[in-house]
Symmetry: C2
Subunit: 548 residues, 2 copies
């Protein structure tokens, strides 16, 4: 891919390496933790640099250049909720901003300690030591999990009970459940309960004003939902320390397949039909012709639709067959034999079979695969090389790593996403694509291109996900991307989209979020923040301005 893109963009072959930590020139830490917190605090350059950025393109290029704009002064890693409280108390007393940090996978500046001049320093509160599945309720199918548990860690603890949270964002390997809740993450389910919001049963949040524990309930009509205030709060209201989530039995029945459509718009009509059918496919992703060619799911002549069903309870034949009819009714071409094929694992072998199905590699994108691939083999072995779904699955998993590699070779490579109602989707797609192309041209990267896939589908709309690949403007990578991003974000809002479907607001999306949310709601949120975080120390700059 590097060779292919390099040739198109006329790049030389020299990939950059990040500088050694010893070469970084970090400002002296402005804060010193109290003795009681010393055992969990670090101010060494490596730790500070490692917590300075998320995983956006603008983060990667800055890190590659040895440029650390806003390192935290201190990184603390509490081992208990009591220590979280101690850290907040210290920060409040010291006039320091505190940035909750899960896996550090923010692509919107959510963890960058760019807190302005009003603070005596910035403390990054890394929740990584709070990573246990504390309790499992096998009757209600729910689990209490500490906020700092990374995806693989929590899944491996649940797997021992035959259960799974089955929430697989693309960042799964390096993001935490607390981060998912704080940012309203989207999982791999293309329809149905895709947002973590729907999986949250109760929350525990340590705020500077005290601790909030919501009641474990399957549903409630008692006033506005307390959980929903914290879902998407991105650290500005306090630190989420524990989450009760709904888990499920591991799927043992699967089926689905791939279809091609002459155009992206034709494929989108099929996605809409599937989303409005009530069939609730676990996977339903449409990839445009160019993106399909890049990731190997197609040859570039057609848009590719991946559809998959799964169940822990019963065969999915009927749904698979009906989906195949719908897809063909709307002009899709399928391999009927492959589509009809069903991964029918014997129900008796549920426990044993399920254990093979480990995490997103095998199971999440695996729901896209036709036939028996995902349950038969190891993740990487699933699907033949020519299999569109298999190719897409491998691409999905590798994309973030490929991105980092491309960036080293001077390629601008970034993604953004939105959601929009169906009536506006085609127009949004065209307007955003045109805006990005124009912006690339204006930044001297007219050879670049933009592709689109849909990641999540709802009865009333869809979440398109755009990828931009272009020759980087060396030495001005951040400025170049900021220009392209501004054009894209402005087009997204003008076309009726949201500034983010599942990447969060952070610091980078503020300009557009401020236009999107009702002003009076922002006022209500600020007022709530004053109650929970009276000194405004929690993640300033993100989402709202404290006390503003």
């Amino acid at each position: 891919l590097v060779a292919l893109v390099g040739e198109r963009f006329g790049l030389d072959g020299a990939g950059r390496q990040p500088p050694p930590v010893t070469a970084l020139e970090l400002p002296r830490p402005r804060l010193e933790p109290p003795a009681a917190l010393a055992p969990i605090a670090a101010s060494d350059p490596w730790t500070r640099a490692a917590h300075a950025y998320g995983k956006a393109y603008r983060d990667v290029v800055r890190a590659l250049a040895g440029r650390i704009d806003h390192p935290p002064d201190v990184v603390v890693t509490p081992r208990s909720e009591a220590e979280v409280r101690d850290v907040l108390d210290w920060c409040a007393a010291a006039g320091a901003a505190v940035i909750p940090y899960g896996g550090g996978s923010s692509v919107v500046g959510g963890v960058e300690p760019d807190v302005g001049e009003a603070y005596r320093g910035a403390v990054t509160l890394d929740l990584g030591a709070l990573d246990r599945v504390v309790e499992v309720d096998e009757v209600s199918l729910a689990a209490r999990i500490e906020a700092g548990a990374l995806g693989p860690a929590l899944e491996s603890q649940l797997r021992a009970r035959g259960l799974t949270l089955r929430h697989f964002p693309q960042s799964f390997e390096c993001s935490t459940i607390g981060g998912w809740v704080a940012t309203r993450a989207g999982g791999h389910f293309a329809t149905g309960p895709t947002h973590i919001d729907d999986l949250v049963e109760a929350l525990r949040v340590v705020t500077p004003a005290g601790t909030v524990q919501t009641r474990r309930l399957p549903a409630s009509g008692a006033g506005p939902s307390p959980d929903r205030l914290f879902l998407g709060s991105e650290g500005v209201l306090g630190v989420i320390t524990e989450v009760w989530v709904r888990v499920r039995r591991r799927p043992v029945w699967r089926g689905g397949g791939a279809a091609t459509f002459p155009t992206f718009a034709a494929g989108a009509a099929a996605v809409r039909a599937l989303a409005q059918s009530g069939l609730q496919p676990a996977n339903c992703r449409l990839v445009d012709p160019l993106e399909a060619a890049i990731n190997g799911a197609g040859d570039g002549s057609a848009a590719v639709l991946l559809v998959g069903f799964e169940s822990a309870d019963a065969p999915v034949d009927a749904a698979v067959a009906r989906a195949g009819e719908l897809v063909q009714d709307l002009g899709g071409t399928i391999d009927r034999a492959a589509w009809a094929q069903q991964a029918a694992v014997a129900r008796g072998g549920r426990g044993e079979k399920a254990a093979q199905d480990s995490g997103p590699a095998g199971s999440a994108p695996g729901t896209a695969a036709a036939g028996r691939a995902p349950v038969r083999g190891a993740p990487e072995a699933g699907g033949a090389p020519s299999d569109a779904a298999g190719a897409w699955r491998r691409s999905f998993l590798r994309a973030p790593y490929v991105r980092d590699a491309l960036v080293r070779y001077g390629v601008l490579c970034e993604t953004f996403e939105t959601a929009v109602t169906w009536d506006r989707f085609d127009a949004l797609h065209d307007a955003v694509t045109a805006a990005v192309r124009e912006a690339l041209g204006a930044t001297g990267s007219g050879a670049g291109f933009v592709t689109c896939r849909t990641t999540h589908a709802y009865p009333d709309g869809v979440a398109p996900y755009f990828t931009v690949i272009a020759p980087a403007r060396r030495g001005a990578e951040v400025e170049q991307w900021d220009e392209v991003k501004a054009a894209a974000a402005t087009a997204v809002l003008a076309a009726g989209g949201t500034i983010t479907h599942h990447h969060a607001v952070g610091r980078d999306h503020r300009r557009w979020y401020d236009q999107q949310r009702p002003e009076l709601f922002a006022g209500a949120l600020r007022a709530a923040k004053v109650v929970l975080d009276p000194q405004g120390i929690c993640n300033p700059g993100v989402l709202i301005d404290p006390g503003g």
Copy 2:
């Protein structure tokens, strides 16, 4: 039923009639609307009395006794959003409390103008004149509906487009979409998107501080959801004037049936299995033996489970068959022939057939019916007399009317509900039932009884719905019920339930809601209220204390 209950309770046969309006002694109105609002304002006794209460037992017995505790001083019925603003402006200037009023079906004191002494009067803002389906987006399957539209009115407007909101609370005939949103109403779907929350795409709210319009989006991760702040806000943050909701095509495929279980707990295990299966039945309601006997769904020897599936897209045979297996695996007895029978309406006839299926009478509880009953005949004709599902359906629809009739004969008849995780369900059921029985005994109504059904089922829990029927303590009906209710609510909270799954908080649930919600969340909500309703005029006494 009156004769049956009357004999058991030793009641005489004389049913009370409500007094004529002329016999009511209402205090003089304390407010006079400005001339500009005079055309939409009324202060006559009938209008004031008709807006003084909701539909709780304690409301009905007071009205029957000619006792109107807190009539509004003025009732205004705005014909436009501009007039809603004018009313709020007037109330703010006059120091009057304003109570948003939809269908007046609150059973928790949500519309009773019991606002305390801090106001110069109380104005009830009746949204009944704002009752149009303003816009339908047939591509996205969404509709913009004015808040005051009653269930039947909005369904009849949607039906003309072959669409339905399919949200059928038991109050459907006399509740509004604005009220559903304000109270987080629960519809008839027993699993899946039962709460109106999941059907809301965007909201428009007129607050004393200005108007809030959220963006139409299928989903978003941009900060905490603005919609969710207003969902369940019960009028304390302003007046909901319009709602964009997700609608759907009318179902044409149905199937299901009834099963019996030796005990309620055994039936509950089957409800749990169905809720955790992923099958998402549209109906899945378990009725205990005594309640089944009362409403004719059974003979009192067994608990009765009603299961139904529906689809606008495809036959539901596979789901019906699998549900039948699950039910039998867990000890349920079904009539296999009836269960397997499928209401397979030809897909070609969708539009015409759907038109016959009108509202909750035919369609909502109708999903419970075995075989072809719900799509074949008129609502009342559906199902043979011996058909458990048909009997239950008729009972469901008539229950509120039957309740009113019973009350006239001196019968205490009231319901309450909660939701709880599965691990705590059996214990909650037993504790609450025992608490109610003990309280009835203590109030001299030991002959009374309490029954239970489940109305909504989730993978992680269930919503049980209790009915209390007992001889009323004549002349002290309100006090008696308040004692029983206090015992029940205290037991519900102690057992891990919520004070309400879909009846809202209002004024009557405040004591327990205040224990349930995290104190810091209440503080955040109060702070939000100060921003949106700076003078605290909106529905004081409900949910939170203004400025408290």
